[in-house]
Amino acid sequence: MTKHSEDTPDLEPLFEAARANALEPSPDFMARLMNDAEAGAALNAAPPETAPPTAHPGVLTRLVRALLPVSGLTAATAAGVWIGVGLPDTDIASALLFGADSEVDLSAFLPASDLSQFSTTEVDG
């Protein structure tokens, strides 16, 4: 029961009457709620449609994940070794490895028709 303050009438008899004469839910409605409840619980009990991801990935998965970040570095290293060891000792290989720093080196990359442009390299004595 709720106490009423002195400046408001005591409406408690009316509140009491309201509590005692509440509109009750029908049996049909309660049955509907029960059916919903059972269906709701069953949905929560049902396993998910797809298997959840495993907490501990397999060895292969972990290996691939570990190698992914270094794969670029590995590829670059392998290419360097191939150029250094696999190619014959040519100007192209030297140029690729050490840079083209002379006209002779450059000429190796240019078409023959363009060589005339570099013919002025002779020094007047």
Binding site: P9, L11, L14, F29, A31, R32, E38, N44
Partner: protein
């Protein structure tokens, strides 16, 4: 329809524990919660909406939402009943706002002498009906606060949470609501059996 295990309806098992069980797929716990909360929620909705069908709709919707959130429910964070009343209250508010505004208290005619004689024979049901009619004249928030406090008998902090307002605001709303009810019903105070002392 299976009836819930009586031991689950017993208040010994907290609502939150039942809801966690529902989250794990326990249908019996769900039925027990319906048995506990269904009628209370329905009473409240029926008082606010004054319509059985609409009250059924909002109660059903509230409980469907409850089953949905059950797997994520964390014990100790909120009362299940408070959560339900909050959802229910909001659903009722939406419906009330979609309806035409309630009648202002000033617009209620004083009972005629003929009506007074009828009122004199009022039973308790009539008192409940008179209160319901007077409640319908209150502004929506006042009505909600008065019903939650004085008919559902919830505590002010719970009502504050349900209505998303401060405890002081709840006190203010209920006080103003009761004054407005008294003003609407004072002409029938003898018949209705309340005193203004």
């Amino acid at each position: 329809m299976l009836q819930p295990d009586p031991s689950l309806i017993d208040d010994q098992v907290p609502d939150a524990a039942l809801l966690v069980a529902v989250g794990n797929g326990d249908a019996q716990a769900a039925r027990a919660l319906v048995q506990r909360l269904g009628p209370r929620l329905f009473h409240h909705a029926a008082r606010l909406l004054s319509d059985r069908t609409e009250a059924e709709d909002v109660v059903q919707e509230t409980l469907l939402r409850l089953w949905k959130i059950a797997p994520e429910w964390r014990q100790g964070e909120a009362k299940v009943s408070t959560w339900c009343f909050t959802v229910l209250n909001n659903l009722c508010t939406d419906r009330l706002r979609a309806k035409k505004p309630t009648v202002a208290i000033d617009a209620i005619a004083e009972p005629t002498s003929e009506l007074r004689s009828v009122v004199a024979q009022m039973t308790e049901i009539d008192r409940a009906n008179a209160l319901a009619a007077a409640l319908d004249t209150l502004p929506e928030r006042q009505k909600q606060a008065v019903v939650l406090r004085h008919i559902e008998e919830l505590q002010n902090p719970d009502i504050a949470q349900i209505m998303d307002i401060s405890v002081e605001a709840v006190e203010s709303l209920t006080a103003r609501g009761k004054r407005a009810l008294a003003a609407a019903l004072i002409g029938q105070k003898d018949e209705l059996g309340f005193s203004d002392d």
